[in-house]
């Protein structure tokens, strides 16, 4: 059961990482990056490193995601 979960998690990590790099729309890439960060936090928790998981969720997914979304907003307004 937990092995299946780990396998699914690893596949989802690889998929979201690849998609966030290859998708052609910036906003989708950012959302995928945030999803990647949350999955990464889960992966750290599964690797029994909850400290890193917490930091990843707060900094990697939360703050970086917000910064990227804000930068995207500024870029979009600059273009329009």
């Amino acid at each position: 059961m937990s092995f299946a979960f780990d396998l699914l998690l690893a596949a989802a990590l690889l998929w979201s990482g690849w998609r966030s790099l290859s998708v052609d729309r910036l906003d989708r890439a950012i959302v995928l990056f945030i999803a990647f960060g949350l999955l990464m936090a889960l992966a750290w928790a599964r690797l029994s490193a909850p400290d890193i998981g917490l930091a990843e969720a707060a900094i990697g997914a939360g703050l970086t995601g917000a910064l990227l979304l804000d930068a995207y907003g500024v870029l979009k307004r600059g273009k329009a």
């Binding site: 909850p50 400290d51 930091a55 707060a58 900094i59 703050l63 917000a66 500024v74 600059g78």
Partner: protein
């Protein structure tokens, strides 16, 4: 052709990484035993916090210094002082942010306190604090920061200064950041409180100093 070169380079790197992962660790460096043997002298009960703030406190001191330096560089490169944009925000978002922000502050304090005996600690607590500030800013409740006033400057540097003061005070004991075991818990908590506050402000500052709209000077 270029694509092929990049892809094969990435493949080679991935194979190297996987090979490095599969390589067995040299047997002489099992640090868990050393950490477990010294836990009683560290002043905290969670091994990660013990390593971060006691055994390898020097690294953490440099980490907070690097973060502070990053913010100072951003400030030195000049903040655009055009007027803050007024964001179109809904009252639902604002109400939710008003409800979430106090909870986030409580969570931050809990993480700080829990760091002594379970996963948590100053960095996570600071990140949660910063997220609360960013959330309030994005919903239009907290204006972005102008040039930092004196209070904010003290807040940004407090963590580093407290850490440095403790380190300097302990120099008389022998070596840098070697806490006396009896006071280690108190000193670590003191440092972590300062670190949480400063990290929250620094991380929020990375967002709030930068988040003004250069195209919005009309």
């Amino acid at each position: 052709m270029k694509r092929f070169v990049v892809a094969s380079g990435a493949m080679a790197f991935a194979v190297l990484l996987i090979g490095a992962l599969l390589e067995p660790l040299p047997s002489g460096v099992d640090l868990r035993v050393a950490v477990a043997a010294n836990m009683t002298a560290s002043g905290v009960e969670h091994p990660v916090t013990a390593v971060l703030l006691n055994f390898r406190g020097y690294d953490t001191l440099l980490e907070i210094a690097v973060l502070l330096l990053a913010l100072i560089v951003i400030l030195a490169s000049g903040i655009d002082t055009t007027s803050d944009r007024s964001r179109a925000t809904s009252s639902i978002l604002q109400t939710l942010a008003r409800l979430a922000a106090p909870l986030m502050i409580v969570v931050a304090v809990y993480l700080l306190w829990a760091g002594a005996f379970r996963p948590g600690g100053a960095f996570q607590a600071g990140a949660v604090l910063a997220s609360a500030a960013v959330l309030l800013h994005l919903t239009g409740l907290l204006p972005s920061w102008q040039a930092p006033l004196l209070t904010l400057r003290w807040g940004l540097t407090a963590g580093f200064l407290i850490f440095l003061a403790v380190a300097a005070g302990l120099l008389t004991q022998g070596s840098l950041l070697q806490y006396p075991p009896a006071q280690a818990g108190m000193l670590i908590l003191l440092i972590e409180v300062g670190l949480t506050l400063s990290l929250g402000l620094i991380l929020a500052g990375l967002f709030l100093f930068l988040s003004r709209d250069p195209g919005d000077d009309s």
